[in-house]
């Protein structure tokens, strides 16, 4: 009877209102024996909305309900349980919650399984211009571990800014941890030449253990050493981009026959190549791209050292498509802002409202001493990620973007 009376009393007590799920970053990776190679990162924002990043590339913005379902997907909650939890927290029936859960799961499955499927036309997913929504942290952090370059390398390959010191391993780990806590799911280690840091595998491993996706931007020379390559793979490196300098004799000769590329690509590693077009090498691009495609490269990044090369860059872009290569851009490569897609969008900007600039929102750039820039080559210090609070840095980012 006491229970009944308590129940009755409770009936008149308003009770605490349900609230959105707490903020945080949640990570899912398919098991090694799973046929899929999938990584999901869900970032729950303070207002209940979510950001779901599929394989560190496809960015989905979720309303509060979708974010709650995605949370259960990542936590592998059985769908019936998930629907029941949502039904208890929201003004929705179990049946409707289960139906919506299934539908969301199907949408995400379709995005993963059929990447060519137009999500707007076939999956009822809205399109959002890149970097146009309010978020609490960028999608990616580019970490310039060092500005050192290999002996004899052209000084052009390193960023012009020199720093007083390089952070220690522990300091970089602090930065990586801070980035994870802020909800940044993707790191790219760059430089200089990041493979000159002996602690690179250790840093990759640290980030991977937290749940972050890691990438490497390198001249590729050290990847020819199987010990180095294995150390990086064992640390969990997810992808690498080899910055090719055809005009650099040493670099080019060692890579020209592409034999070691084939070895590299046998591994479980996504390999892309970057080419910087110059007035000297522009005529070789067709041949270069053909060779890269024949070597088995699946993705290519292109940039030009001079805006006047835009028409040639456009031809190179078409050549990449004709060779069925994925084009990637917005990577901290040399002259990254002069890439085919940016030029294409800028050309179209006159009759389009879409202006794309991901620096400061899609990614941030950390110099070897911890200073934060909006992007590579944008000489505006927003704070120091080692010493400053993330909230202060993010505020500075937002002020800068304004």
């Amino acid at each position: 009877m006491a229970n009944i009376i308590e129940f009755i009393k409770q009936a008149f007590v308003p009770g605490e209102a349900e609230k959105p799920l707490p903020t945080g970053v949640f990570h899912y990776i398919t098991p090694p024996d799973h046929p899929r190679n999938l990584r999901l990162h869900l970032r729950l924002e303070s207002d209940g909305r979510g950001l779901l990043i599929v394989n560190a590339s496809t960015v989905l913005h979720l309303n509060q309900t979708a974010a709650e379902f995605a949370y259960h997907i990542i936590r592998q909650t059985p769908k019936e349980d998930a629907a029941r939890v949502v039904q208890k927290r929201y003004q929705v029936s179990y049946t409707d919650a289960l139906r919506d859960f299934n539908q969301l799961q199907e949408q995400i499955d379709a995005l993963i399984d059929t990447p060519d499927l137009d999500p707007v036309t076939y999956l009822n997913i809205e399109r959002l211009s890149p970097y146009s929504d309010e978020i609490s942290a960028p999608y990616r952090l580019d970490c310039a571990l060092t500005y050192q370059v290999p002996p004899g390398a052209s000084p052009d390959v390193a960023p012009t800014k020199r720093v007083d010191r390089e952070l220690t391993t522990q300091e970089w780990q602090q930065i990586i941890a801070k980035a994870w806590q802020a909800g940044i799911p993707h790191l790219i280690f760059t430089g200089g030449e990041p493979t000159l840091r002996d602690d690179l595998p250790e840093l990759i491993s640290f980030a991977e253990e937290q749940g972050q996706v890691t990438g490497l931007l390198t001249d590729g020379l050290k990847l020819g050493d199987s010990n180095t390559l294995q150390a990086l793979l064992n640390a969990g490196l997810d992808h690498t981009m080899i910055v090719l300098h055809p005009e650099d004799e040493k670099n080019w000769k060692s890579l020209a026959n592409f034999s070691y590329w084939a070895e590299t690509m046998k591994e479980d590693l996504y390999v892309a190549v970057h080419l910087t077009m110059t007035t000297q090498n522009k005529d070789e691009f067709e041949t270069l791209i053909h060779k890269l495609a024949a070597a088995g490269i699946s993705a290519l990044s292109l940039s030009a050292a001079d805006p006047s090369l835009a028409p040639d860059l456009e031809k190179a872009q078409q050549s990449a498509y004709d060779h069925h290569l994925d084009l990637v851009w917005d990577i901290p490569v040399p002259y990254s802002q002069i890439n085919p897609i940016s030029l294409e969008l800028a050309k179209d900007a006159a009759d389009s409202t879409e202006v794309v600039n991901g620096a400061g929102i899609g990614w941030l750039y950390v110099e070897p001493d911890g200073d934060v820039l909006p992007g590579q080559g944008i000489d505006h210090v927003l704070g120091n990620l080692l010493t400053d609070q993330w909230s202060d840095i993010w505020k500075a980012v937002k002020d800068w973007r304004r």
Partner: protein
């Protein structure tokens, strides 16, 4: 403007028949204070209930105008014709069944809506609500009358409210007969008792620091003899299990009132509902760019999923126009290429020409499939990150603009010249064959310079193997002579070009297309996780409803394999 989803819902609960009320489901656009709420509750001698409300509302400067108010009734046993309402003394005509509150009445303030920054007084009254009394379970000679006045969703109302509620007991009830129930917290335990102008006993509870968003309960019992026995409902099963009201709300309540227990389950649900968050269907938005500009007409044809035979005919036209090839024979379709090839050929044009010069028909067909696979894949790469829908719409507009240019030109010379420039874009039109015939139905068409490379023999003689009619030489306004064809003949030649390609080169368009789409858009492989019922990931099989449902997937769906 009526805001269906943003209205204020004021709730009247009478515990005799509590209504379960759904809250508004939209964003918070109302923001006001309820300064005063005066309620008179008349327990009539016929066992019915009459109510009057006076709500003084001050709208905030940033809130939407208060244009609708919904007030819930205790049950369905009332008539809207017995209700009246006014705002600041101005009668309100719009009284209707509420679409939002079960057993509620919708009051549409119309032009008397309370504007932002203004204060207004809403008065509402209703008579004749039946079935509102219950037998007092502690004293079968008494009836229980429990009432909860209106409250408003806390999303919309803020601040304190001076609430005053007065019970008017049935005429004849003497001051010593009725018993009050312990009121809601914050109200004086002992009501102020007096006689109203009609001599009826009244109980008044008042709390100047109450609020408009909390539910308050009030109750009284009086001898059943003052109302008809037929107006009194019987006790519920809750009474039979012996739960005492003191356990429920404490205090000095003198009697049990079964009606309270009817209300409890509903209240419990309502409170739980109130605690829950509002549910909007899950929604995804993907980051991506809009229109992919800069595609050639052939590439746009892939995006628009045009039939394969048409696309290859377009490539044939483009290579002829570039001077890379000429047709030797239309039946069977045979071409020869120039040597060297022009430098501005696209990759798909080169592979097409290579395939077309293959003499082994089976290999030619296979090579053409290979060329189309390559084309589809390169377009898919180019489309990556861009919206297919927006790109399709963009190229449909270009197609329409191309036709408009041709159709709007006056003289045959200019029309022919214009068509030559935009011909490949007009071919993207799903209705291009009929439209070509319509546009060129009358008048001559001056042939473009490359025409003789497409239609061999047309420039040299009036007889021979050509399926097309021979042109005649017509003087142009400039004084020169140009070859021309009757419009209908010209249109027929363009249109039959596609048919020639289908019948003479690739055979069955459907089979040919399947050979392409099977490779460009294979059915995803299923995995062992596909049948898992948890929140994991299934794999494949469920996403692509149609073989052509991909960004870079050309197929014969739309054209039915013409």
């Amino acid at each position: 403007m009526r805001k269906k989803l943003n209205r204020i819902t004021g709730f009247v609960l009478l515990l005799a028949a509590l209504t379960l009320i759904s809250a508004p489901v939209s964003a918070q656009t109302y923001a006001f204070t309820l300064e005063q709420e005066i309620i008179h509750v008349y327990w009539e001698s016929d066992g019915t209930l009459s109510l009057t409300y006076e709500l003084v509302m001050h709208n905030s400067n940033y809130g939407d105008p208060i244009d609708y108010v919904d007030i819930g009734m205790p049950n369905a046993n009332f008539s809207i014709s017995n209700a009246t309402a006014s705002v600041d003394g101005k009668p309100i005509n719009h009284l209707a069944a509420s679409p939002y509150v079960t057993n509620g009445i919708e009051i549409g303030l119309g032009s008397n809506a309370i504007q932002p920054g203004e204060t207004g007084t809403l008065q509402f009254s209703i008579t004749g609500i039946r079935d509102v009394l219950y037998q007092d379970s502690d004293d079968s000679d008494y009836v229980s009358a429990v009432f909860s006045p209106s409250w408003i969703d806390s999303e919309f109302v803020s601040g304190t409210t001076d609430i005053s509620i007065t019970y008017h007991l049935p005429p004849g009830v003497t001051p010593e007969e009725p018993r009050w129930h312990t009121p809601a917290a914050g109200f004086p335990e002992t009501p102020y008792a007096e006689l109203d102008p009609e001599g009826r006993v009244t109980y008044t509870w008042r709390n100047p620091n109450a609020n408009g968003y909390t539910q308050y309960l009030f109750g009284a019992s009086f001898p059943a003899s003052y109302v008809p026995a037929t107006a009194i409902s019987t006790p519920t099963f809750w009474e039979n299990i012996g739960i005492a009201p003191d356990d429920l709300i404490g205090g000095v309540c003198m009697c049990l009132f079964g009606s309270m227990f009817v209300a409890i389950p509903a209240l419990s649900i309502r409170n739980a509902q109130k605690r829950k968050m509002k549910y909007l269907p899950p929604k995804l938005a993907i980051e991506g760019h809009g229109i992919k500009r800069g595609l050639t007409a052939v590439e746009a044809a892939i995006v628009l999923e045009q039939p394969m035979d048409k696309i290859m005919t377009m490539i044939l036209f483009s290579t002829i126009k570039k001077g890379a090839a000429r047709v030797i024979s239309r039946d069977p379709l045979t071409i020869e290429t120039t040597d060297p090839l022009p430098e501005d050929l696209r990759a798909y044009e080169k592979t097409f020409l290579t395939a077309m010069t293959e003499t082994n028909k089976a290999k030619q067909k296979k090579d053409l499939q290979e060329a189309m696979v390559s084309l589809v894949r390169s377009v898919a790469k180019a489309m990556k990150g861009f919206s297919q829908r927006e790109t399709r719409n963009y190229y449909k507009k270009i197609t329409e603009a191309a036709w408009a240019q041709v159709e709007e030109t006056g003289t045959p010379e200019v029309k022919s010249e214009t068509y030559d420039k935009v011909m490949e874009w007009t071919m993207l039109d799903d209705d291009y064959d009929d439209r070509t015939r319509r546009v060129f139905r009358t008048g001559p068409v001056f042939l473009p310079t490359w025409w003789h490379h497409y239609s061999p023999g047309t420039m040299t003689s009036t007889s021979g193997p050509s399926k097309t009619a021979a042109p005649t030489m017509r003087p142009t306004p400039g004084g020169t002579s140009m070859p021309s064809l009757p419009g209908s003949e010209f249109a027929g030649s363009i249109v039959t070009g596609v048919q020639d390609f289908a019948t003479g080169v690739i055979g069955s368009v459907g089979a040919f297309t399947s050979g392409v789409t099977n490779r460009t858009n294979p059915i995803p492989k299923s995995s062992s996780s596909g049948s898992r019922s948890g929140g994991g990931f299934s794999s494949g099989g469920s996403s692509c409803a149609c073989a052509c449902a991909c960004a870079g997937c050309a197929c014969a769906c739309a054209g039915g394999g013409r």
